[in-house]
């Protein structure tokens, strides 16, 4: 054959294996069944600053750090004995001058021979760069874990703080509320009646704010919004109650409702009430005071749709996009509120497998909540 490759292959067969063993770019070690080194190549001995003869009769663990020694005796040697091979063990050699050389070691045994003849062959690779890189990764992981642990502790503290705060805020509000109920039974002047009505409205608003803050905190802390589904009780009375509560807060504004709920709805009534309360509160605050706020709730085509719309200046496109982000208060920084109401409303919509979208033009700004009737 006159294949042009043939001469190259012929040349390859003249490799000097003795020289390859001695000066290979890795360390070669052969030990007897007790782990005593019977042959070590020059590359390996050179790394340690000794001669191959110096190492004969010693054991690999003798050349390792203490940690490596323990690992060798408790895991490396037993596994090698049972499995016949073990790869990629990361060890550190200790050189004659006490310098440490990070290495990776592969080993196998010449199984099949008589027990007494059993030998172990090691191939040792310098791995300072790789091991340094791994160490960096381990350090980064440890730092990240430490951060997570401290963050978790912080957030637990925050959660407790918010729970206690919510509780402590609700208590005085409840007292004010029962005080107002007592006063309502008294004969009050027209002015007194007016003041207590306003106060009742404020109590309602404050309660709604606390609800939103607590829900937001729980959501952020991983608790999420939990739902108690109810498919049997009619939803309409809950919606009517929300509307009448908000009417009492803003008696001057007209709220026009249209309810057509003819199919059973599986949802969390309190949550849907909260959603409507947030949307309606938003419409009453930001809508034009001289135009009615409309609430439409209908069931059709397997969906519940609640739409709340108000008149007034349209919301710019850019603002619409960010409306449901927490603490977003749009361009209207004068009006009160944390900017959580719409965010919580959209979270409630999501939790029900539904959507909450906003549309705004010169005629009306409308928030449309849609969810499937069956969960």
């Amino acid at each position: 054959m006159s294949d042009p490759d043939t001469p190259a292959i012929a040349a390859a067969t003249t490799i000097d294996f003795e020289a390859l063993f001695e000066t290979a770019p890795c360390g070669y070690l052969v030990s007897d069944r007790d782990g005593r080194l019977v042959r070590v190549n020059r590359t390996f001995a050179g790394w340690l600053g000794v001669t191959p003869d110096d190492l004969r009769g010693r054991r690999l663990p003798d050349l390792l750090t203490v940690a490596g020694k323990i690992f060798y005796e408790t895991h490396f040697a037993p596994t090698l004995r049972m499995q016949g091979r073990l790869d990629e063990v990361a060890l550190e050699l200790v050189a004659a001058d006490r310098r440490r050389l990070p290495v990776l070691v592969n080993a196998n045994t010449n199984e099949g021979d008589a027990d007494a003849d059993r030998q172990v062959r090691f191939a040792v690779f310098l791995a300072a760069g790789r091991r340094g890189y791994e160490q960096d990764l381990l350090d980064a992981r440890d730092r990240a874990q430490a951060t997570i642990v401290s963050e978790r502790a912080d957030s637990e503290l925050r959660e407790q703080f918010i729970a206690v705060l919510g509780h402590d805020l609700r208590n005085p509000l409840a007292s004010i509320n029962s005080g107002l109920h007592l006063l309502a039974r008294e004969t009050l002047s027209a002015r007194g009646t007016k003041v207590t009505e306003l106060m009742s409205g404020s109590v309602l608003r404050a309660n709604a704010l606390i609800d939103n803050v607590l829900d937001f905190a729980r959501g952020r802390l991983g608790g999420g919004i939990t739902l108690a589904y109810d498919a049997h009780t009619p939803l309409e009375p809950m919606l009517q109650q929300v509307v009448s509560e908000l009417r009492s807060i803003a008696p001057a504004q007209s709220i026009v409702t249209h309810f057509a709920l003819h199919e059973p709805i599986s949802c969390d009534h309190v949550r849907i009430g909260q959603l409507l309360s947030n949307l309606l509160g938003n419409a009453l605050t930001h809508g034009a005071k001289d135009q009615p706020v409309r609430v439409d709730a209908t069931t059709s085509l397997g969906e519940l749709v609640i739409a709340v719309s108000n008149g007034g200046t349209p919301i710019p496109e850019a603002v619409l996009e960010r409306l449901f982000q927490p603490f977003y208060r749009g361009h209207d920084r004068v009006r009160q509120g944390l900017g959580l109401g719409l965010h919580i409303a959209s979270e409630i919509a999501l939790a029900h497998g539904g959507t909450l979208v906003a549309r705004s033009d010169a005629v009306a700004t409308t928030f449309i909540f849609t969810m499937p009737l069956a969960n």
Binding site: F71, E73, P78, Q83, G84, E111, E134
Partner: protein, 287 residues
């Protein structure tokens, strides 16, 4: 917690009488990946040490399997045990591991049995012997060390700093464990007697658990657990052992009155693997 993808692979049949269906039995037998031989004599329980699992008895236990009822198991966190059962609080001392041995022995109605414990399990055996002396009347301590760290008048072989370095070291050597590798079953054509599943789980453990066990193994000072004990105690020691040097074996023998020391002509920390024949002979001569 990572999924445990290797399944139980009974090397020896579990006696039908052992599975009477009571839930607690099923639990401890599954959790500790227990293997029981069909032998009908005295019970001989083998407990493995740090760094490995019950497979380290593979050259020793079969010799006893017919004239003893041999029990092999993996400590929680090792080999084929249920990693989900690992409880950092329970297993932060030898007592947690001793609890498991006692529960296992009681579940299997062991009395006057033989307990063979290697390395840290030798010390666990002594804790068991104190807390439940009725279970085992013979305790074989293979390469034991009650304390690895040097002290005044005591040479354990290591300093505290060296043990701390070991814990760091284990981060770099996750004992063949990685999330990507866990489900891979490695073929092992050179060792047909090793089933594929076995090769995949051999001496493998979750690195976090390995580090915790290393801490318990190498930082526990069990010298207080030595002293008079109501069982026959055999100390097996290798001629050369970097982990538990001969002087430590002699210390253990002196500290347990009436105990016997046998020094095997073997090198290393695991005579059950490197010199199984003489290990078997020494145990047979004693029981």
């Amino acid at each position: 917690m990572l999924p445990i993808l290797w399944s139980a692979h009974p090397a020896m049949p579990i006696e039908p009488t052992m599975s009477d269906g009571s839930p607690s039995q099923a639990t401890v037998l599954d959790t500790l990946n227990v293997r029981i031989s069909a032998g009908t004599g005295r019970t001989m329980m083998f407990a493995h040490g740090f760094g490995c699992d019950q497979n380290m008895w593979r050259f020793v236990a079969p010799d006893f399997a017919t004239d003893f009822r041999t029990i092999l198991f993996d400590h929680v966190g090792a080999g084929g045990s249920d990693l989900g059962a690992y409880d950092a609080d329970k297993y932060d001392s030898l007592d947690g591991y001793a609890d498991d041995v006692i529960e296992l022995a009681r579940t299997l109605d062991v009395t006057n049995g033989v307990f063979v414990g290697h390395s840290v399990s030798a010390m666990i055996g002594l804790v068991v012997a104190r807390r439940a002396p009725e279970l085992f009347s013979t305790i074989v301590l293979v390469s034991p060390s009650p304390c690895y760290i040097d002290d005044i008048d005591y040479t354990g072989g290591f300093t505290r700093d060296e043990i701390d370095e070991l814990l760091q070291f284990l981060d770099s050597n996750p004992m063949g464990w990685s999330q990507a590798m866990a489900p891979v079953i490695m073929g092992n054509p050179d060792r047909p007697e090793l089933s594929e599943e076995l090769a995949a789980s051999l001496c493998r453990t979750d690195p976090e658990i390995a580090k915790r066990l290393a801490r318990v193994t190498f930082l526990t000072d069990s010298r207080g657990d030595l002293g008079p004990i109501d069982a026959d105690v055999l100390v097996l020691q290798c001629r050369e052992d970097a982990i538990a040097p001969p002087g430590v074996g002699a210390y253990v023998q002196r500290a347990i009155p009436g105990s016997r020391l046998v020094t095997l002509d073997a090198v290393g920390h695991c005579p059950n693997l490197s010199a199984p024949a003489s290990t078997i002979a020494a145990i047979r001569a004693f029981v």
